[in-house]
Amino acid sequence: MVKVVPPVDNAKVPLTKPVEGVGGKTGLWRTMYKPVVDSSKCTKCFLCEIYCPGVCIVVDPVKGATINYDYCKGCGLCTDVCPVKAISMVPEE
C-alpha cells in the first residue's frame, strides 16, 4: 500500500488541478462580436462544444447550446463548425 507523506520541507512539486477561470475572465477579450445561438435551428450535434477552445459552450441534449460569456473570447470558431448555421456573430454594445 502507498502512504502519502509530504516532503520534510514541504518542497514544491509540479502539480496542477483544473479550476474555472485560472487565466482570468477571458470574456473580456471579446472586442466587437459575440456568438449567439439560434436554439430553433440547433440540432444538438455537440460540434460547438467539442471545438470551443475556451471550453465555454455546453450542449444540453434537450435545450441545445449555451455559451458562457464570462469566458467566451469571441473567436468565432463555433459559427464556423456549426453545420446548420445556428450560431452567428452579432455586434456587442
Partner: protein, 393 residues
Amino acid sequence: MPMKIALTGNYAVAYAVKLAKPQVIAAYPITPQTPVVEKLSEFVESGELKAQMIRVESEHSALAACLGAALAGARVFTATSSQGLLYMHEIIHWASRVRAPMVMAVVSRTINAPWNIWPDHSDFLDQRDAGWVMAYAMDNQEAFDLTLQAFKISEDPEVYLPVMVGLEGFVLGHTAMPVEIPDEKDVDAWLGERRQPYVVDGSEPIGVGGLTWPEDTEDMFYGIQQAMERAKSAIKRVDAEYGKLFGRSYGGLIQCYRCEDAKYIAVSMGAWSGELMESVNMLRDEGYPIGVARIRFYRPFPHEDLWEVARSARAVFVFDRAISFGSWGQIYADLVAGLLLHTNKLPPVMDIVTGIAGVHVSAEDFYAMIKKLIEKVESGHNIGYFEWVRVRR
C-alpha cells in the same frame, strides 16, 4: 535464516528487487542488463513476486511506464544499460523533477559507437546532472545491498528522489559471487510500506509537470538540491541501520580502505576498486603509505567525506573510468571542485583516465601506475594533472 548463494551481479539485483516487492516492473532488454529482468519475470511467472511486468517497445517507454505507475502509488523498478539508458534520458529528468521515488539498476556498458558491450562508467556518469541519487557497487553483495537500500532512500520523505544503482556489466553482472540474502520478514519490517509526496490515483483530475512560471520552477529545482543535501545523512542512516539489522555496513557515501595513516589516496568507483585495493596491498607490503577512498555514492557528491580523507595527503590519484571529452574524468572534476570548497591549498591531484571501453586494468597495472607517481612526488617532481593510460597486453 539468511542464506548465502552464488549469484551473478544481475541476479543479485533481481533478488534484492524481489525482496523490495515492487508492484510494477517495466523494461526493455539490452546486453548486459537483460538477465536482471529475465530473472524478475521468472519470479513473477512462478508467483514468488506479485508484480505487473510490463513489456514495452523501448527504454523510453519502460521508464515512462514506471513513472506513471510510481505517481499512481506503486513501488516500481526498471533496469537498463548504455544506449538504453541514453534513450531513457528525457524521462530520467522527468522522474526526479516530479519527485517520483523509484529505483533503476544501471548495468554499465560503454556508450557506443563503435558497438561495444564491455563496461566502463560512461553510461552511468552521463546521468550525473539528472537529479537522481546515484550509487555504484563494487561487488555483487554490495549490488544486492545497494538495490535494497535504494528503495528505502528513495522513499524517505527527507529525499523523495529516484535512485539509480550502478554495477559493471560482465565483471559483476555476469560473474557469480557469494551473496547473502536476508530474511523476507526482516526486510518487510525494515522497508515498510511505500511512501511518496503525492499520489495521482484518479480520484480527481490532476496535472503533473504542467507549464510552470520560471520562479516556481526554480523553487522546485532548488528543492531537489536541498533534498540531495539531506540525502547524505539519509544514506548514512540507512547504511547504519542496515548494518545493524543485516550485518553489512559500508561506511556511508565512501568506503575507506587502509586510509588511516595513508599519505597517498587513490580515489575510485566500482568493481575495479578491487584490483586497486589489491595493488594497495602490494604497495603497502613495500612500505608505501597509500589507501583507497572508494566512491559509493556519486550523487550527492561526498566532498566532505573525501576532504576528511584527503586533507593531509601528499597527493591524490583519481582513477576515472569515463571521460568528458575535451576536459577530464567526471570524478576528477567533482573532486577538485569539492576539495576547493574546503581549502585553497590543494595537494597535487592527478587524474588517471584508464580502463575505457572495458579494457581490463589489473592489480599489477594499478601497482605500476601508482608506484611511478609516488616516486615522482617523493623526488619533488611535478606529476601533472591528467593522463590517459591505455593498458595493452
